[in-house]
Symmetry: C2
Amino acid sequence: MRTSGGEAASAVPGQPARQDSLRTRNLALVLRRIADAPTPVSRAELAAATGLTKATVSALVDTLVGSRLVGELEPRRTRPTGRPATGLVLDGEETAGLGVEINVDYIAACVVDLAGRVRHREVVQDDQRGRVPERTCAAVAAMATRAIEAAAAAGLIVAGVGVAVPGLVDRPGGVLRFAPNLGWRDIDVRRLLSRAAGLGELPVTVDNEANFAALGELHSDRSAMPDFLHVSGEIGVGAGIVLRRELFHGTRGWSGEIGHVTVDLDGPRCRCGAQGCLEQLAGQEAILRAAGLSVSAATCMGGQATVGRIVEAAERGSARTHAALRQAGRALGVAVAGTINLLDIPGVVLGGIYAPLAPWIAPEVQREVDRRVLSAAWSPVAVRVSRAGSDAAVLGAAGGVTTAILRDPAEWMRRRDLRLAVGT
Amino acid sequence: MRTSGGEAASAVPGQPARQDSLRTRNLALVLRRIADAPTPVSRAELAAATGLTKATVSALVDTLVGSRLVGELEPRRTRPTGRPATGLVLDGEETAGLGVEINVDYIAACVVDLAGRVRHREVVQDDQRGRVPERTCAAVAAMATRAIEAAAAAGLIVAGVGVAVPGLVDRPGGVLRFAPNLGWRDIDVRRLLSRAAGLGELPVTVDNEANFAALGELHSDRSAMPDFLHVSGEIGVGAGIVLRRELFHGTRGWSGEIGHVTVDLDGPRCRCGAQGCLEQLAGQEAILRAAGLSVSAATCMGGQATVGRIVEAAERGSARTHAALRQAGRALGVAVAGTINLLDIPGVVLGGIYAPLAPWIAPEVQREVDRRVLSAAWSPVAVRVSRAGSDAAVLGAAGGVTTAILRDPAEWMRRRDLRLAVGT
């Protein structure tokens, strides 16, 4: 099965190959090479790497520079003789993506430019359970409007919006079908957010927060494995599956529901209706309860403060907290091992609350995968800790917008020209 | 993530699109359309379906007919006026694939022609546990030689060999890394089989039997879902993941090890070294033991006779057998539900011993997935029974060869011309 770093260069499956899409595809190919290069590249290097002629590369680069997607650095001398080459990099000074996140106990927004820098960020710790979706979405919409204004003040054009939500999403429709921890069903998130000022005309992509968190990890860590499972521990537990640096969505976009994988056949009942689900054994509230820390106090504090309390108890040597973390780590390890047996993924990244809890959780996860993954004896599973941490989902939601531009710059250039023409 | 029914029409990822591969890709596109059509198609219909000109389609079809990949039926009248059109179908009279299977308690071979008909089949029930791999492979090699001779006698050219084995395979090398139920490690199956007469020069693809079984199901059932999980119950339990009618292999080809997914944390010890693995709860021997049927007697009889004994006991109303099947079905349902939560696959096909046992197993599987799959409430999981049954793996191994020809006919045409030129 293939994902496609080179997707941009592929013909539409099932369609005959034609000349007329060549320019669009080669534009994407050149932009992707510039984006992936660890250091600025020259036109000559691009020609060598892509197999295109230097004239073709030059014309494509000029187009990308003209659209503010690529910037030129001062000429540098790459060889002792000859003209010094101009270094090409992504231009982060005009194009940006907006990410927003609705989670169980916080909402967040951020703006990331095309070069991957975070230009604006806002997080509000606030439990959303029991809230009507309209109220939560209004708060998030206001946050999005502030972010777009902040971006505009910095000279940035926001090209689109990614919305991370804690549940199953109908991706084409932007409808949240079911968020067990919020108790929401069939909420048209895209429509509710479209009321925000400045958001109306932008493309909005709604996806599961664990999927976006995996993308966020990918964007935050240049040395990230190309294939990995990213597990986001929150009140719920979700996973994003990354294969060849692309999200694996499954048939309908509902993949990665590791939180509802059965770990204990006759275990505690879950909000989803089943029993023994991973998140009842390794979710934030399960850990709090097992550690004897008050869940309701934690809820008022919001996610990051809550994790801080668990970390603090573990650091001061609380035996009960250590036991709770061992138990959670074991359950997580069992579910991760099963996932790797099924999918053959070489590594797992512990994200969300599992990142600060990694000193206690990671060894348990490693032990279980070493024991339970059939191939582990000769190909040990890498257990790593997230670099993006609890910001991963909102970063990934914003990064998804810029990644879409890298994949199809021609499409963005058409939209940009239209916007500039009408002066918005 | 995308698999590709239209893979043949895609450029090489990461490479620029060029004219020179257009013919190769369009050849595959036309052949694939002929293969996928439910009834014979005309050149005009192909032109309409592919967007290629009639002249281009005609030239491509002539090439495919000349290479014996496509056959022309008697002209038929598709419209009241105009010339009657020639119906095009896959030509099954020259090109064929060979599949062989090494399993725990049987070995098998079969020849399938390009049109999908089984032209030769041989199965020997014989427990391979405790055998040295060389002896098993020699027996399979002799079977392969007989199959190639039978194919030649029928005027068929065997284009390649698929080898199904019950364990983890290094696919590029054709090495079986670990087969827990045989106790084999690091066996170079490709090299051991290459000694068979007539096999030396053929491309040999070694893969896990559960992967090939999923392909076999796909080939046997025109109405198969495009995305499904195929579970093969044998002494071991494996799964093949089919997405957009292609196998999902995972990073190293080791996906689908559902038999080693933990279902009961503290359950019985498994041959893989872990405990509580699905196959210890729902594999053939686990069912025999729980049903109070003798495992050793069953072993002497070979797989299909063994299942017959379980079916017979269930049909005569043995309460203990019913309880054993309920327990196995429940364990299988829990593992399948976890897989669907992770991968978002809309259906599961019960294969191997689970096909004849479906009357007792399938309702349990359905109950567990209905309870445990997060999206099941509005998108029920389809639980189906394999049509290919216990032949699925060897059929899929042979079908993989012909599918590869459909994907890249130009490559096969080059090899065929070479063989005809040297008179082999």
